[in-house]
Structures are given as C-alpha cells and as structure tokens.
C-alpha cells in the first residue's frame, strides 16, 4: 500500500542510523514524519561499513553496518514512513510557525513546511590540507571513508601500496580491508602517542595482519605530480612538531587519511544556531533541541560518535521530543531558557547535551569523552559545589565515548551549572 497524501509536521534530514531512529520514534509518538535523503538508498554511512560490531547495545547482537541499518529500515517500512531519496535539502528557513525546507530532486524544486525539523546529516572527513599536509596535489591521496565507499560499494580498488595517516577507526578498518583486497599497507602513522581508534580495532585490524603502527609519527610531505610517488614521514616531539633528522621517504602510490571527522552542520549554521566549539556540533538540551526552537539535531551531526548504537539512541531522543513539540509546542522548559549548563571540567573534553532545561523530569543520558587516557579514573559530577555522583572507570580513553545517566532528583534546586571532572 502506498500513501500518497501524507501529512508532514516533522521532517528528518538524513536517513542514517540517527535519522531512521528519530523517524521511527517520532512516528511511534504519532507524528506525521517524512525522511529526506540525498543518496539513492537510505542507510547513511552504514551502507559502506560491511564489517561487524554494530548493534551490541541496541540488539545484543554483532551485526554488520548494512544489517544494522536494515533493522531500522524495516521499522521505517512497517510504520510506512516516507523516505524521499535522491532528494537534496538546499535551504532551511525559519518561519513563525515552524520551518520551510527547500528541496530539490529529479522532479524539480519544492518545499515542505514542518513544525519540527530533525537534522541528522552525519559528518564529513577532514582532508589533507585541513591537517596542513604540504607538498603537491597528485592523484592517490584519499580519505578513508571515500576509499571505503569505492571498495565496498563500487568495487574499485584505488590503491596499490599505501600509507595510512591517522589511527582513527575508519583508518584501522580500512587497513584490514585493503590488505584483504590485495593492496599492501606499509604502515599506519599516528601523530599522537596513542592510537585514536578503539582498542579492539587496533588488535583486529592491525595486529592480526602484522601492519605496523608508528605512534608519534606523521606525514610531512606529499610527493608526485600526476600520481603519488611517495610521502615523507617523520617522528614528532611532544608538541607534534616533526623532528628534523628523522624524515624518511616512503615510496607508495596511495596515502589514506583518517584524520578526523567534522559534524556536518553548514546548512543549519546559517540559521544562527549556537555551536559548541568543542564538539563542532550545536549546543543542545536534553531533548537534543538546539538554541532554535523546533530544530533538533542527533547522531554524528551533533557530535562524532564511535558507536552507532549511541547514534540511534540520540536519534530516538530527538524523534520523541520533536513529535511532542510538533503536536503540542514547547511544554518542556520555558523559552526564557531556565536551564542548567553542563560543562567539562578537569580532564574532560566535552559533555553532550550541554544544557538541561528545567523542569528536569526524566533521567537523562549524558555522553562525554576524556582528554587523555587515564587509568583508574574517577569521575566527579558536581552541581554547583556539591558532588552529586562519582563513577570509577578502569580506564578512560579519548576515542571511547562514555555514557552516564543522571537522575534529576539528585540535582539540588537552584543549581546553575553541572560540571563533569576527573579527580586528580
């Protein structure tokens, strides 16, 4: 059965795990929801993540990316949520009673006027020049995600012998994938003194395949005019400055970059939404609503996640709240913004959501990352000058996001700020 006259009060931008979870949650709350996706097929980045390890939290199973994504697709289908694929969001305008979305697809340009918008556009990869790599600009310099798309979706191998710069998860996974496809990975070079990907990925993707990981090393120069002929690598000091005398030329035809992801918020930034420089995503409250009423953000567009299960969780939060907002307007918090601010203290990189609107009705999930690897860490959460909760962790690592649930009754009335910090 096809619905052709759907009513839309909530629009989700992006059909990755965040967008689909949000759409499902919103529809379950009774919202008239539709999903906009610019690619040919829904699923977001998961379409190309054919390795397993997804879903341990959401489904208590080890799934591949496409399998994980398929579970959500089925829920989307069962709820008959329309997904407009090959449809590109050109612009969002904020109107008195909601939003106006200007969209384009093969049938022309059209607009939708929902009350609530859930922005789940994911993230993009940093490029060579954005990490200030010098030298020439030949073919053969590619980001790990692009490489993953070419190998896994298109079936093209754009690499022979390669160096991988950066030990982020995608880079590690691609080291294994390249090896399995017959390319040679000379080594992974990481500027920091510890890997930035998950420990399990270092073990399963590098150690199992005897791919060397060079910590405190970086690529300093790119060589070659048409195709890459090699890169210069060097050891770095504690300030990440290359140490002269340690440079070495490595002849390779491909440089794979896994040097970080940036939440993709350029379209909503134009609406003047408040951003958090620590996450490069917007500032949100416990409902994942931004500083602009009715605009919700979730998934990697909010902050870069390392587990897709958390991405779905953030989508559900946004979806439920958006549906509620579309139906009844703002009933949580007051628009004057009475709220508690969450701030990262000693040893903490960031905390999301950054705001807890009053009234604080439900327990709320907070995500945070530590700045450095800390063994036997003790986290303190302080409301004003009162410590309201303590948690012990055998180890905290920056690549591994932590999740903490806080009950509202713990917060003393009149609290203005809650700080996450590590006890020294």
């Amino acid at each position: 059965m096809q619905r052709t006259d759907f009513k839309v009060d909530t629009v989700v931008i992006g059909s990755g795990p965040a967008g689909m979870a949000a759409a499902v949650a919103a529809a379950e709350e009774g919202a008239g929801v539709c999903v906009i996706e610019r690619e040919e097929r829904p699923g977001g980045i998961l379409k190309q993540c054919i390795h397993d390890g997804f879903g341990l939290l959401q489904f208590q199973e080890k799934l591949t990316g496409p399998e994980y994504s398929y579970r959500y697709l089925q829920m989307v289908e069962n709820l008959q949520i329309p997904v407009l694929t090959k449809t590109f969001l050109l612009e969002i305008q904020h109107k008195e009673n909601g939003f106006r979305l200007i969209l384009q697809n093969e049938s022309g340009v059209f607009s939708l006027n929902p009350r609530a918008v859930i922005y789940a556009a994911g993230c993009r990869e940093k490029t060579s020049r954005q990490v200030f790599l010098q030298g020439t600009r030949p073919a053969g310099v590619i980001t790990a995600g692009t490489l993953q798309y070419m190998i896994n979706i298109q079936g093209y191998l754009p690499a022979g012998k390669c160096v991988i710069l950066g030990s982020g998860d995608i880079g590690l996974i691609m080291a294994r994938r390249l090896t399995l496809e017959g390319a040679e990975v000379e080594g992974v070079y990481e500027i920091k003194s510890e890997p930035s990907g998950l420990t399990r990925n270092v073990a399963q993707c590098l150690e199992d395949y005897r791919i060397p990981l060079h910590l405190s090393h970086t690529v300093t120069e790119i060589h070659g005019t048409e195709r890459l002929t090699g890169v210069t690598v060097a050891r770095v000091d504690e300030n990440f400055k290359p140490l002269s005398g340690t440079e070495k030329f490595v002849p390779v035809d491909t440089l794979v970059l896994s040097v970080g992801l940036i939440p993709e918020n350029d379209i909503i930034e134009s609406l003047g939404v408040e951003l958090d420089s620590r996450t490069s995503g917007p500032v949100v409250d416990q409902y994942n609503m931004t500083s602009l009423e009715g605009l919700f953000v979730c998934g990697n567009a909010l902050h870069v996640n390392d587990l897709v299960d958390y991405v779905s969780e953030s989508g559900e939060t946004a979806g439920r709240a958006a549906a509620e907002y579309a139906a009844r307007g703002l009933n949580h918090g007051d628009s004057n913004g009475k709220r508690v601010n969450l701030t990262p203290g000693n040893g903490i990189m960031y905390v999301v959501p950054q705001q807890w609107k009053i009234p604080m009705e439900e327990e709320t999930v907070f995500y945070f990352r530590s700045r450095e690897t800390v063994f036997r860490a003790e986290l303190e959460v302080a409301a004003g000058n009162q410590v309201i909760c303590r948690e012990k962790y055998p180890v905290l690592r920056p690549p591994e996001m932590e999740r903490l649930v806080i009950e509202p009754y713990l917060i003393p009335p009149g609290t203005k700020e809650i700080q996450f910090r590590l006890r020294c």
């Binding site: 052709t4 939708l112 195709r227």
Partner: protein, 591 residues
C-alpha cells in the same frame, strides 16, 4: 660597450666578478658558475635595466637546476603536414584569448597546449583579481596593458558569459602619515589611467569593512578592482575560439621549429610537424625556452611562487572588499592580502618566493605560516581553520620585471608574449587585441586578411543552478531531470551541469577538468563525497573503463583494479514507501 662595462662593474661590486658577460644581439648574456640560486638571481637583476633588450642568464647553479619542461610522452601524427596561418603556443589565458581574438579574421588558427587541459599553470593558480592599474610604474608595458585590460573586462565577460564582480579594493595605510600621500597617489592614478580613487578615513574604513585589522590608518579605495574566475575565463576563451573555428590541440608540446632565412617555417610537436605563417609564443614559464627553439632568446624567465589559501564560504560575509597593504613601489609581492572570489570563497595570499623548479607547485609550511600570520590577519576574524585548501602558482618573471609583448626583432614571423606575471590576467583583453593586430599586420604584408563574417564573440554560458531562481531551477529540472541530481554536495552541483561540461568543444575528460568547469569537488569536503560518483559519470560519458578515468594528466588514473563484478541497485526499492516521482512530493507545494 659602456653598457657592458657597467654590468661588469656592478657584478664585481657585488662579489660576482667571476661571471662572464657578453653582448648578444642587443641583449646581455651572463655565463659561469655560482653556488646558490640567490647569486644567480642577483646577477640577473644586476644586468637588467642597463639599456639592453633583455638578460640571457646562462649561469649554472651548483645547488641544482630548474628542472625540465614537462612534455607529453606520447606521439602521433595528428598535425603532420598540416598548415595554419597562426600557431599559438601555450593554452593559458593569454594564448587562449589570443586564439579567440584571431578567429575574428578569416584565418586558420591552431592553439597548442602541452597539458591535457587549458589553464593548468599560472592561469588556474592565481587570485583572479582584476587589478586597477595603480601598482605598475608609469610608462611600463604592465601599466599600459593593465589599464586597458581592466577597462575591456566587462565587455569580455559579458560576451563570454563569465561572472564578474566589481567590489573594489582597499589599499590599506600602515602608518598614520600615509594619508599625506594622497596627492601623490592621485597623481600616480592619473598617470596610469586609474579612475575613482578615494581617500577612506579610519572611521569610514571601520564602517565599510568592519573586521579590518585595527592597526590600519585608513585606506585608498580603488573602485576599479574586480574579481573573475581565471580558469573559467581561460576555458571560455578556448571554447569560444573553438566555436569560431580555431583548432585546439591539447597534450601537444612544441619541441622545436624548422627555420629558413630568418623565419619559422615549421612547428615540431609530439603530434607531427606542421607549417605556420605566424607563431605566437605565449608559453608562460617556458617562453624563453620556446624563444630559444626559434633562435631568438633574449630574456630569461624565473619562477616566483605564490601560495594561496582558499577559505570556506562561511568567511565570505566577513569580507566586503579586496584588501591589501597599499603598494608604494612596484614591489614583487603585489596582490598579497585578502581577496574575494566570484564563487563566494575568500582567498588569502599570494606569497612571493623565488623557486628554482619552474613547475614545482608544492606548498611549504613556511609559506602557509607566513600567509596565515601576515596576510590573512588583514581581517581580524579570519582564522587558519577557515582554510579548506591551499595551492601554489608560479609567476613567469623576467629580470626586467615587465611584460614583453612584441614581434621578434630577429625572426620575422614570431611574436613574443612573455614575462606575463601579475597583473597578466587583468591585461589579457588588451594584450590579446594588440597581439592579434600584430599578427594580422605580419600576414597583411603579403596577403589579404579579411574579417570572418561568421565570427560570434558570444559564448552561450552553461546552466549554473546556483545562479538560477528556484522557479528557473525547477523548469530546468523538468526539462532535464539530471539537473535535479546533486552530485557535489558542498558546491551543490548537479549531474546535468557535469555532463554538460563534458560536452564542451574542448573535450576534456578528467576530474580536475570537471572541477575547473563546474566546481564539483572544490568545496569544503574537497571531493571526498563526489569523487567516487564522478569516476562513474566520467567513465560512462567517455564510454571508457573506470580504470582509465584520470584526475589530470596521463599517469593520474585513480582506480587501479576492480574487486568484484557489476552491482546493480536499480531494482532496489522500499516497500510501502512512495517511490514514484509524481507521488513523492504530494504534500509539498511546488515552485
């Protein structure tokens, strides 16, 4: 002889006494050996400006040479035995504009470019600023062509369907007393034919350009400063030339000439030797080598690199004018600062650094740091993390630091257009007219040259979705749905625009070619998202295998191997989801 003694003495004074000096056909030639590039350059500059036609710097440098000209490695006979009235060597903006200008006449024109596309060197590696003719010293070729080129630009852009903007520029004052220079500035402007200069007080500057660095004491405003996309302009010239009958040969390198009695009779290339009545040397960084091939080398080109950072479009609203520190003399760093682009990005740079290898466009941390610290800071809100990419271009400079636009004094059918450093782009419309007139003069001495009645200066501009209203967009998409499919998400470029760019008369099928024509891959993700899609589109449109798809020249293939058979997703559809186009958006109000 007095001139020669003067050069010798000056070299001695600068401890360069071992260098040999001789006169050669009214030019001065330097020979010998030095240790460093600096000494080589110093000697060249010492010999310049002493009344010679030019400096031939044949000094060897122990530290290393300039690198060889990168010529196409394949051979065929596509040009063998042919004959053209005019052969233009070099498909940069200068050569392409001259070729187009020449098609106004009933002549057979050929444009020869050694790379796989036009504008691969200086013409795609610059700031795209249409300068007011203020910086060049009065009386120089630079001043003359700059002034008239600037005035002709609007018409040129309109004919070619190229976007042009005239935001003007601010020449910033670094010292308080500099406002006292206004009478001199006005005088210089009058001498060079610059119109509309205006003194801007510090307060007014703050109003007009709110984020300008507070250390400046006002500025001079030049309303005649514009911006244009230099590679789109070059390609537009090339396309219009081709549409008017010029033959454009890419991947065609000029390797030598056959000569008889003081004239060129044949042009030797990797694609055969052909006859030409007139040859125009617009070979940019290699103009002196081409001159040598013709037996008429009287100048020497040295490369001065300029590094430029491209800032995110988000920085666009922070800058209203092209900004630079007021040039008080015709220094070698002109143009540096913060400049605008017609595509909404802001550029910072260029730097200026002498480099030995002429086609070495690698960037260095030093240049980037300089750019970030000295140039980007003209505006207080610009930050290094606004940079989405950076690149370098090399200026083709002579030791005289002026343009050479003249028929050869010794080869009767050769015209030199050399030393075209900044403001060479601005000068283009004036230079191309002048050079084509000179070529016609040479031909007219022994035959009739008539205007071509079929010539059309107009080039139909390609559809650019970003320049259309939403209604127009919708109409274009209804006619051709491929314009509805967005391929480059950062720059919002559709498949239709990409396919159209591949159908140009120049027939360039590379990723970089697409990038220069429609900007796909030029945005903040730098092609991360669209490159794989472009590979497929290129292969499909060229009817080639994906393994043949290249980034730029031969050897830059992207896909080395296929890992599996064909995957067909066309049948993929979700159940219960409106998939038909007509039904898809029934809840939507249409344009």
């Amino acid at each position: 002889m007095k001139r020669l003694a003067g050069v010798n003495k000056a070299l001695h004074r600068n401890r360069l006494g071992e260098i040999g000096v001789e006169e050669r056909k009214n030019a001065v030639r330097l020979t010998g050996k030095v240790d460093s590039r600096e000494q080589y350059l110093k000697a060249g500059y010492i010999a310049a400006g002493r009344g010679y036609r030019g400096v031939i710097n044949d000094i060897e440098v122990n530290a290393g040479g300039e690198g060889e000209m990168n010529l196409p490695s394949f051979q065929d006979n596509a040009l063998e035995g042919k004959h053209f009235n005019v052969a233009v060597v070099g498909g940069g903006v200068i050569g392409a504009a001259i070729a187009r200008e020449l098609t106004r006449w009933n002549l057979d024109i050929v444009l020869l470019e050694k790379e796989e596309d036009l504008a691969r060197h200086a013409s795609s590696r610059n700031n795209g600023v249409i300068h007011p003719a203020f910086a060049p010293s009065p009386g120089t070729n630079k001043a003359y062509y700059n002034c008239f080129g600037n005035r002709l630009f609007n018409r040129e852009a309109a004919e070619l369907g190229i976007k042009i903007e005239w935001p003007g520029s601010m020449g910033l004052f670094t010292r308080r007393w500099m406002r006292l220079l206004m009478p001199f500035i006005r005088h210089r402007a009058r001498q060079n034919g610059v119109r509309g200069v205006e003194y801007i007080s510090p307060e007014k500057l703050k109003n007009l350009e709110p984020h300008v660095n507070r250390r400046f004491w006002g500025a001079v405003f030049f309303p005649e400063t514009g911006n244009v996309s230099p590679y789109k302009l070059t390609i537009a010239y090339g396309e219009n030339a081709a549409a008017n009958g010029a033959r454009v040969f890419l991947q065609t390198g000029v390797e030598g000439f056959t000569r008889e009695q003081g004239r060129i009779t044949g042009v030797q290339t990797n694609r055969g030797t052909f006859g030409a009545d007139v040859v125009i040397n617009a070979a940019g960084l290699w103009a002196d080598r081409v001159a040598e091939m013709a037996g008429d080398r009287y100048y020497t080109i040295h490369a001065r690199r300029g590094t430029i950072a491209v800032l995110d479009k988000k920085a666009g609203p922070l800058v209203n004018y092209n900004l630079g520190v007021l040039p008080l003399a015709d220094t070698n760093t002109k143009g540096g600062g913060v400049t605008l682009s017609v595509d909404g990005n802001v550029l910072a740079g260029p730097t200026a650094e002498e480099v030995p290898r002429r086609e070495d466009y690698s960037t260095s941390r030093l240049d980037i740091d300089f750019l970030f610290q000295q140039q980007m800071t003209l505006n207080e809100l610009l930050r290094p993390d606004h940079a989405i990419t950076y690149f370098a271009g090399n200026r083709a400079c002579t030791f005289e630091e002026d343009f050479i636009v003249e028929p050869s004094p010794h080869v009767e059918n050769l015209i030199h257009v050399a030393g075209m450093q900044s403001p060479g782009l601005t000068a283009v419309p004036a230079v191309s007219r002048e050079v084509s007139r000179k070529a016609v003069d040479i031909l007219s001495s022994y035959r009739n040259v008539d205007p071509d009645p079929g010539f059309s200066p107009y080039r139909k501009p390609p559809i650019e979705l970003s320049r259309l209203s939403l209604e127009e967009r919708s109409r274009v998409i209804k006619e051709n749905p491929s314009y509805g499919r967005i391929v480059c998400r950062c720059e919002v470029v559709s498949e239709g625009e990409i396919i159209h760019s591949l159908q140009s008369p120049l027939g360039v099928f590379t990723l970089d070619g697409i990038k220069r024509r429609v900007r796909a891959g030029m945005g903040r993700c730098q092609g991360g998202f669209c490159t794989p899609r472009l590979v497929d589109i290129l292969a499909r449109e060229a009817g080639a295998d994906v393994r043949q798809v290249r980034k730029s020249g031969p050897g830059s293939e992207l896909v080395l191997k296929k890992t599996k058979g064909e995957v067909d997703y066309t049948g993929f559809k979700l159940k219960g989801v409106p998939g038909k186009k007509e039904e898809e958006n029934s809840a939507a109000d249409r344009f």
